[in-house]
Symmetry: D2
Subunit: 498 residues, 4 copies
């Protein structure tokens, strides 16, 4: 899946980082966020505190960490404790208004919050809080949490945080900073990842361990679902499980697409999982072909797995440009339509006259897949077999990914054959849900992977708001093509007659 | 008083504007704020609403209205109702965080607030609100008002606003915007100005009528102290006096320095008042001299008045550069000290061999006056007589000007003679408080001007917070010089013996 | 004359500065150019050399010196010798391409040139040079000079410069820098100013001595017309007169408008000259009035002179905004027409019910004067008498000011009465040419001022290119009004009957 | 080879594009340059002409085409003919001064030139031109060509261009634009590529055909060495061979590293050539290993070739970050050393406990290779075998790549074993020159590849300037390690004893 497609469809995606006990806290948070930049490229923020000082220092910017957090900006973030956040968001001032960490002053003192995930009862809580006289300056779930903390009757900040989080539902990996302590925690379902490590004497937490690798910190372990870790400035630490227990349902899409291939998430080596998806996909939907080509970069491990399993050679048939910046401005009506072509180029010598298997991690709307297949055909491919290393994405996520409407998801309303026709593939196959489960976990005998697979199955493990329930259930109109229905895991289409 | 000095010492200064009923509401607010730019140059903001839509559109920027509010930014501010704000503030993200209008969502719906002034019980209210579970994202008084509105038990937004404002004390000229109405109001003491006008069918409110002149609106009148004006989208209007009555005490410093010379404020023609200050100053502290020279631009009207009264010719002996931008960056240690010289240049032919009267509106720390006198002497002046068109500034303001500490005010801790020596004038005189009262009002028989003169007298008409009371009363250390004490209104020093 | 009008009409205006022998050469050039910023605000440049190094370091930027030459930019300008340039120019890359100093490599080594003025035979020389195989990368006269230097048969750089300049005609005050020496020189007619001073051991040259005042350098004297000053890195100096002698004809418009009021130019105190223009204008064209009001800032000294001579009180009836930046962007069609109003505001209390004399230094197109008079009338003035402190501007300048076409000059095609009607003044009078001569020089018995007055008389002291001759002579169409002709120095119009 | 390393060592690298006969000439040049961005990322420029107009419109910017050439910039480039250029260069204004296309005015009219390559006699020509009175405003070879054109005695521009180019030696693929025609040509040695195509009725030329693919133009063919193609606005075309014949010696490094893998250059499919380098490298220097890992992205095709030939699985063991922008600012001393780590991350699951073959296209200084091996070892690799898909880079390029000094090339002064020790590989092998020749061309029986291989052999096919000859021959000091010498093509080091 190309960033371009992702940018239009996935509204919310985040990464969080925290460190306590290092004199260069802001600089390390800069590094930690840089390593999480794939989780959100639109805005970034860092909040710091100084020992013995009740101020919260905050800098938030639109743009990449490495471009926005200059030495000058970092110099305004003193102290030995810091938390940070990267996220996607829409442009304009509202983007900055909703940027995180949010920093508020409460009766318990100042607190900064950086949140990855999405609350399912945020709307209800917000309505209740407003009716009780609360004001909201942002549209973030995180501000709801801040209000709940401030309105708690608990004796101290820590208890107030626990109190607040026991009122929320949904997905939340959260990092909090106060002048006294830093907290990292995962919701009871453990939807989003969070891991803990050491950097010399300092404590570090991060959405993914790749942050630790970059700064030379050691990875200790992932937090368990529902686990909360508190590290105090005085050196003491607490590990708690303060929430009602739930059956853990980590997000399987973290393994499919979100997390970095060099990360270990939910106890799985991400690169290995993705290669296995490719292996299984090849077993499920192998096809006579000359070459396996990934959609870079997210399709690379699955394509390698497909190639190794099938024996069809892996080749780099699509070259990605490194020069399409975030600030790319489409200069004229004619150029406006060059989207995918500005980012990908076909390698004719790899594709010409070949039967090509194109492997991608997922399909959202299908428009990019269609353009890629067109490009591959124009380079001379004789056949194009599209293979998707995950099942059909049929349902929106309400736990931190926020695909806005079912109607945007081609697989929500179209059969396999319809999709194949739309993207103009000779054959099309998705990984089956069974294959996906096998890829993420060797033991699938109970038919359950223990993951949230709602985007593929519509089976939402955490109750949705009624509003969202409706969105999840509504039958999207079938606008594009009329055709017979294929089965998931099944291959449709056939090679053209020789 | 040069901007440079002002920038370091006066932390808060604001202007507000509002319009309802014009299709180019944001554009007119742009013009209105441009005409109020002298009241605050560090940040500016505009909030708008569209009829029949519950959104609040807000854009806030650091910098000048005319540079920051480009066509692109204005295009994101749709609707026929808008309010705006200009202010001083410190740099960095915190500046933007505290920028106004603030816009919040409440149980009554969205509201935007633009506030000129300072609440004296903001700290107490904030502490109480925090103890009740409110969170604060800014350090502004305006957020306190927003919380009080949201927590009101009133039935509707308008009553909630009245309820909230009956709980606050201090100086506040306020403009509020909701999807249904726009409000303009002055606190019962009427410390800060606010006036009302018409622009064709639309209603306009502004800190000063100079906004109306610019856009061709007609000036109707100033709001009375404690008066509140509500104009609804449906065309109806209300004029109310919903607050406890107080003896009005408008800020005399608005006439001395803040307001534009072309404005009418508190029923006075500002230019005329300033000229009269110069007239009276000449009568009180005339001196044999060859030329009267203003410190541009704030000293110009008083210098003209001084010259006309004394018969000493008025000349432009100091030329102001128009090319020292807000973004002036001092490029090296050597250039760092050029401050005043980069902004003012002496006209040698006016000053050489002359006995020069230099007239300024006020002295804060005295450092700029000292540099100016040095410059005038280097251009060959034989004598330099410094005349200040207001009394000694001895006390900080807590009603919207916020001179942070008494120790920064040279006149708080130094005698007239000490100041004269420090700034190296041959003679020095301030306008007496009696003279000032005469200048602002022809009828002063009761010995009262009806104005807040706290910065000159320490007599604070609105009760201060205990914290501020201490600051106002504390005896600043005398750090600079030891010398005998002169009397206010008295001239000290003497021309050098020929 | 407001900048706005000037910006549209005057295409070329420059200031130059140089220093040799100071370790902070670039920093001082920064200061020197800041003090000359009124001579050109669109681009600025600095070139430096290091002793014992054959490189030329050059930085050129669009915008104000104080905003563009940051510490970072200055740090790229090492060395103890520097020259600089400020100029007007149109926007876009071409502006930067034509920015100065120009720096070229020649057979004599590198040289940088900063030029104030305009060559009258540049076109002919350029055509000849091109026909001989020269290439031109800019459209500046300065590049012509560089080519002539490089093509000289002289033995060394200094002789080549002299050789080159003996081939050019027109106005040129020039500063040159090579690794060995710095040169300052004025053309034989001495059209543009240039002065020389000392800063400790270093030599400084500048278009106006106001640069020296700012940096604390001492003013030695102005260069004579045709004089050339060479200062070598080894401490030696040469004063030469290497050009064919001409009758000096310095530009009288430098005294009327260009130079800063605090400067001494062509041996005259500029502020004093301008006041005398006002004095004489009052004697020539006095009128019964209540108040004299300048168009700020250029009309101020003449208005003071007018007031003092006439006894009519001087008042600040028009207030200038300091917040209309160079980067002012007009945000919408409605606001686009606010031009003058965004910059000037009327002071109603000064103007209402009054007979007002408005004094400006000159009129170019008349459109701004017309807007100002409208503004003054709307503020309630009973009568508006417009007085111009110079004669009618009837002819374009070809010596460095480049008013592009006669048709843009209202006085080129319209009678005094026609202009009066157009600008809607009750009466209008210009200073007579005789009066101007008297103002600039006490001795005018020979009926000659010794100045170039071509813009007022059409009498061009330096031969023009045939092309320019045509432009100067062509009869501009009379497009605006038809009316009888008034005489220069004569007052037209009459107060309205009571 | 990572960009980072390249940025420090390779000073000059360019791409050129041209189009004539399309109403959106500038927009297409934007696209064409975007597709050539890998050939130079520091500055870009476009020049256009309008039919029937003698102006040349030029915009040059520092930065990426897609970020700098906004709609606003493109709108200043009217016309149906355009040429463009991308290049590397050092920062600062000098970068802009040397940016291309250069545009000059000559006796033949205006011309713009965009040049890829390096002249070997530029210094001598420049000295001669300077001695004849030419001035140089840049340090580019292209300005030398412009001078030669302007000084030609030919009758017209076209003949003057031919005349000029017959005087230069070296590498030059050149695109020229005048109001009448566009030219594309290659030097007689054909060192740099240039190809020709059609876009509907328009003619296009580009350094690589990937530009054509992007815009949907058809590829006609590469220009032959010494061939010149002229396309006139009136639709006529000329194909000429106006230069002295030379034995063609295209740059082999274009195939090794420069050109895009999806391009066809010098009649070779670049991707296929690079894979063959990997195949042959595996045959020459195979090693027992568990995994083959490329240095992304330039090492990818060779690594695939190595893996396919050796049967050792290909894996993505190093992940490249897409978020290290051009404007990356290293924020503190600690972070300053993160260079390679910010760009590459190891995939532990791929590397841990494995015998790893790391494949890169070339080694310049060896510092990056050393850091990569450290990273691979820290991720747990048991053995690291470094394989380089080209021979040792021992000599600087003087034909457009300009590696500044031999002393920077580790292979110029160090034996294979010394390099192996320095980069800390268990074994190290380079592709032999014989292997390289085999990879680029199936027929190598004559022992000659017909390519310029000077960077590997020191055998320079085009005579060098005496100055450059010295640089090429000088014996670089051996600064880093002392060790015995290995042979090219030979593998050094051995797996650690089990």
């Amino acid at each position: 899946m190309l960033d371009e497609e992702r940018r239009h469809l996935i509204e919310e995606e985040c990464g969080v980082f925290g460190i306590l006990g290092n004199e260069e806290a802001a600089n390390h948070t800069y590094l930690g966020l840089h390593a999480l930049q794939h989780r959100g490229q639109e805005s970034a923020g860092i909040a710091t505190t100084i020992a013995g000082d009740h101020n919260m220092y905050v800098q938030r910017r639109q743009g990449l960490v490495s471009e926005q957090f200059t030495e000058d900006v970092l110099s305004r973030l003193p102290g030995d404790a810091a938390i940070g956040h990267v996220r996607y968001s829409t442009s304009g001032e509202s983007a900055i208004r909703n940027a995180q960490p949010i920093s508020v002053s409460t009766k318990y003192g100042p607190i900064a919050l950086a949140h990855n995930g999405n609350l399912t009862n945020a709307g209800a809580l917000r309505a209740k809080l407003e009716s009780q006289g609360s004001i909201f300056g942002t549209t973030t779930d995180t501000e709801v949490i801040a209000h709940l903390i401030a309105k708690s009757l608990a004796d101290n900040m820590l208890d107030a945080i626990i109190d607040a989080l026991n009122q929320v539902q949904g997905a939340f990996s959260l990092v909090c900073l106060t002048p006294e302590f830093m907290i990292g925690l995962r919701d009871p379902n453990g939807v989003r990842p969070l891991c803990v490590g050491h950097l010399d004497g300092a404590r570090v937490v991060s959405s993914e361990p790749t942050s630790f690798t970059l700064m030379g910190a050691s990875f200790e372990r992932e937090l368990e679902p529902g686990e909360m870790f508190v590290t105090y400035r005085d050196g003491t630490e607490k590990w708690m499980e303060p929430f009602r227990k739930q059956t853990p349902t980590p997000c399987i899409f973290e393994l499919v697409y979100f997390s970095r291939p060099d990360s270990t998430v939910f106890g799985r080596d991400v690169y290995g999982v993705r290669k296995r998806m490719g292996n299984i996909l090849a077993r499920e939907s192998g096809v006579e072909a000359d070459v396996v080509v990934p959609v870079p970069d997210s399709g690379v491990p699955a394509a390698l797995g497909f190639a190794q399993e099938s024996g069809v050679p892996y080749e780099v048939g699509l070259v990605r440009s490194h020069y399409v910046g975030r600030t790319f401005i489409e200069p004229s009506s004619q150029i406006r339509h060059f989207g995918v072509k500005l980012k990908l180029s076909p390698v004719q010598s790899v594709l010409e006259g070949k039967r090509v298997v194109v492997v991608d991690d997922s399909i959202v709307r299908g428009t990019t897949s269609r353009k890629i297949i067109k490009m591959v055909r124009e380079a001379g491919a004789k056949e194009v077999h599209f293979r998707v290393a995950s099942p059909q994405t049929t349902h929106p996520c309400f736990y931190g990914i926020d695909t806005p409407e079912r109607s945007q998801l081609i697989a929500a309303s179209h059969s396999l054959e319809e999709i194949r026709k739309y993207i103009t593939a000779d054959t099309l196959a998705y990984l089956s849900i069974k294959g996906l489960r096998e890829a993420v976990s060797t033991n699938t005998e109970d038919g359950q992977s223990g993951f949230c697979e709602a985007c593929f199955t519509g089976d939402y493990p955490i109750p949705l708001a009624s509003n969202d329930r409706k969105k999840a259930a509504e039958e999207p109109g079938k606008e594009k093509v009329e055709a017979t229905v294929g089965e998931p895991g099944e291959m449709v289409g056939a090679p053209p007659a020789e």
